[in-house]
């Protein structure tokens, strides 16, 4: 069976060049970077090189990069780290209603611990408004956390404008910091911490064609954080634990390749997505796009198919070799319709019928065409079963044209 992976937002295959780069660190180069001897120094040097590459991907300095186990941990360290460190300055956090489940979970946990959390709306476009951020700012706001690009619909948030706003506040003496979750954005758009004027920025390697289990937090020089995983001098006391050397090396190489190839990758997936969406429009009726189509990551297309539920469609597609997702990969499996699609103002039915198609750098035209062959049939199969569809058809038949 032909297999087409259209779920690059959930995770990406590891680039062959990345595997090559890490392999020596899975075999002969196995030292603990904390060791003083040859083996240790060899690993230490490799971690330092990787740190420079990751820093360079986002326009940061190497010592502003903290390696850790992934995007979720980066978000934990950023949000909990700032809040715990600066609790004396205030206990108010501003975020959006479409953050990744990790940020949502962390903010919910803060909410249960004497913190006040303001969750801003994103409207039908799936984009937060800078005016709303401005209006929500309070003298006791210590952290604003707004993702750079959403993981379900791909919408890009106005982080640079929010950054400018926060800078103003800070210039006026407020103790306030800006975090952005750039886990999805980093593979799709140029990210520069100075342009964004952010203080903290989360990255995860497995969205950039590197393995799962490693990520990084950018921490602007001078920003103080309460470390979360403590005990050990690693990462300049900001994150304890023996460095995951092979993964860190892989992340470094993936960051280097992303920096060099980002524009070409973005152009490639944008072109294929156009082909895909044009094909869907020609072949399937009764669907809506989710999220502002102009302000989106180039490889993501999120569509709600009326009258059908997403998971059934997903499994139908999967049985024909097409891998997609419904809701966020992490929260799928729960009964609830996607909270992100709900936040766009969609009703439950549309929210349950949403499917994310996410293309990757190695996606081909042939794969797009295969999905365009399989998808309309799968939608049709499920609609034929759907009492909602039957009812709508009957109603339509009775309505004079």
């Amino acid at each position: 069976m032909l297999r087409v992976y259209f779920d690059h937002s959930a995770t990406t295959p590891v680039d062959r060049r990345v595997v090559e780069a890490m392999l020596p660190y899975l075999t002969e180069k196995f030292g603990n970077p904390s060791s003083v001897h040859f083996y240790g120094q060899e690993s230490r040097a490799a971690v330092d090189r990787a740190r420079r590459e990751v820093a360079s991907l986002v326009g940061a300095r190497p010592n502003e990069i903290v390696f850790l186990s992934g995007g979720t941990e980066a978000n934990n360290l950023a949000i909990r780290g700032v809040c715990e460190q600066h609790a004396e300055h205030g206990r108010h956090v501003i975020t959006t209603s479409i953050e990744h489940s990790s940020v949502r979970g962390i903010c919910d946990a803060l909410g249960r611990r004497d913190w006040e959390v303001t969750r801003l709306p994103v409207y039908e476009e799936g984009v937060v408004r800078v005016e709303d951020v401005r209006a929500a700012l309070r003298p006791d706001t210590v952290l604003v956390t707004v993702m750079l690009a959403n993981n379900e619909v791909g919408t890009v948030q106005p982080v640079a404008e929010i950054g400018a706003l926060i800078r103003e506040r800070r210039a006026a003496g407020q103790k306030i910091w800006l975090h952005t979750d750039a886990v999805q954005a980093a593979g799709g758009l140029r990210v520069d911490v100075d342009e964004l004027a952010c203080d903290l920025l989360s990255l995860s390697a497995h969205k950039l064609y590197a393995p799962k289990g490693v990520g990084a937090l950018y921490v602007r020089r001078g920003v103080r954080l309460a470390p979360q995983n403590v005990g050990g001098h690693q990462e300049r006391e900001r994150r304890g634990g023996t460095e995951a050397v092979p993964l860190v090396v892989a992340f470094g190489e993936a960051a280097r390749l992303t920096r060099l190839e980002l524009d070409a990758r973005a152009e490639h997936v944008r072109r294929l997505r156009e082909r895909f969406e044009a094909g869907v429009e020609a072949r399937v009726s009764d669907f809506v796009y989710n999220g502002d189509r102009a302000r989106r990551l180039p490889g993501v297309s999120n569509i709600s198919f009326r009258y059908v539920e997403g998971e059934g469609l997903l499994i139908n597609l999967d049985m024909q070799g097409v891998a997609v997702s419904t809701g966020s990969a992490c929260s799928s499996g729960s009964l609830e319709p996607s909270p992100v699609i709900r936040a766009l103002g969609r009703d439950d039915e549309l929210a349950r019928g949403s499917i994310r198609f996410s293309l990757g750098k190695d996606t081909t035209e042939g794969e797009v065409d295969y999905v365009l062959e399989v998808l309309p049939r799968a939608v049709e199969t499920l609609r034929r079963l759907s009492p909602l569809y039957q009812k709508a058809r009957t109603e339509r038949a009775c309505t004079p044209a």
Partner: protein, 123 residues
């Protein structure tokens, strides 16, 4: 997660999908928590269920249970149909993950409702 192959096959190749224009019994039930919905139409002949059709909206187990139930009902007497259990439906779809057991319950509820509509009706 992990759905059985049988369950997935019901999803890709649903058996007995649709409604019966000349149904003797019909019922539609929904799960108020998740919004899942199942509709069952039955036609009788010589004391047996001659034809059974279903429509379903919702998560894969709901669709598969509808398909499996409609399939097994054809040829049953009403007494046999009344004795169909949640377990039997679950088995017919190759098992269900713990969190999805309610799909088989919805199938049984809909069946009961359809059979009740019969006792209340012309039969």
């Amino acid at each position: 997660m992990a759905y059985s192959d049988t369950l997935k096959d019901h999803l890709a190749n649903p058996r007995n999908a649709g409604t019966l224009a000349d149904a003797d019994a019909e019922a539609e039930q929904s799960n108020p928590v998740c919004g899942d919905r199942l509709r069952l139409s039955l036609r009788l002949g010589s004391g047996r269920i001659e034809a059974a059709r279903f429509l379903a909206y919702g998560c894969p187990p709901t669709l598969a249970c509808g398909s499996a139930l409609a399939g097994m009902l054809e040829g049953m007497t009403l007494e046999e149909a009344a004795r169909v259990t949640r377990e039997r439906v679950t088995e017919a779809v190759g098992g269900l993950p713990a969190r999805k057991r309610h799909a088989a319950s919805l199938a049984i509820e809909t069946l009961r409702a359809a059979l009740e509509s019969l006792t209340r009706g012309a039969f």
